[in-house]
């Protein structure tokens, strides 16, 4: 039998790897991939808690579906922004997109 703690530790590790990716990469696309990893780790946590603590309440799975919908729309809008920035400024490096920085 797998203890709940294994899932939680794995999800914590995945989240921190995604956080490092979002903080350390220069490419906006790589940052977006880091954010997807973080959302994925949260989903793993939610499913593990649902399975071990409240398997008879369905709310855990519903939460996961809502997070998936948010992740999908976030990816779509983020990638559209990256394409638009690339067309206008020919760069996808996050540090070069500084028109709003004073």
């Amino acid at each position: 039998m797998i203890p709940l703690s294994w899932y939680l530790i794995l999800a914590a590790g995945l989240f921190c790897v995604g956080l490092y990716g979002a903080l350390a990469r220069r490419n906006a696309l790589a940052i977006l991939m880091g954010i997807e990893l973080m959302l994925n780790a949260v989903n793993l946590n939610l499913v593990a808690f649902w399975r071990y603590l409240t398997p008879n309440l369905i709310s855990g799975q519903v939460f996961v579906l809502i997070v998936l919908a948010v992740a999908a729309s976030e990816a779509a809008v983020g990638l559209a922004l990256i394409i638009s920035i690339y067309r206008r400024r020919s760069t996808v490096a996050a540090e070069d997109i500084d028109m709003m920085k004073w």
Partner: protein
Amino acid sequence: MTTTQFVFLITGAVTLGAALMVVLSPRLVHAALWLILSLAGTAVLFVLLEAGFLAVVQVAIYIDAIAILIIIVIMLTRRVMIRGDTQITRNWWLGAISALILFVGLLILLNMMPIMAIDTLPTIADADQTLKDLGRSLVDVDRFILPFEVASILLLAALIGSIMIAWPLSGQAESEGDQ
């Protein structure tokens, strides 16, 4: 060690290793492929947790839609940052330190929680019934119809918004039409 523990350890190691390759790989296309492997590992973990429907949704939405979209955008923008340029920021060690601090902090926090001792899996009476319940609860007025509808409006807004944002520049569109 039981079989499920063995499967969990293998899948967890693959998922975590693939996630590390996503953030460390210098080539973006490779990073996206590692991302697919990591997401597939999570789908296997969902199956281990007896959430089969979510595993299918994970494959259909994350791998089919999001990862493919990311790969397409990488190919559209691959002329920049392909070589010469370093892929990590100057202050990458700050990100590494904060991620490490967060991980250690999470471990300490998890150790203080009583739920960490849970190692028995409550039985699910009927997996089909769980899936039916999930479907009904999403359209039940007393339960989750409001988040469901908000999610659908969010998806519609993201759809229209991304089309608007990614629309070609007017001058560019005309010059492309001339060619």
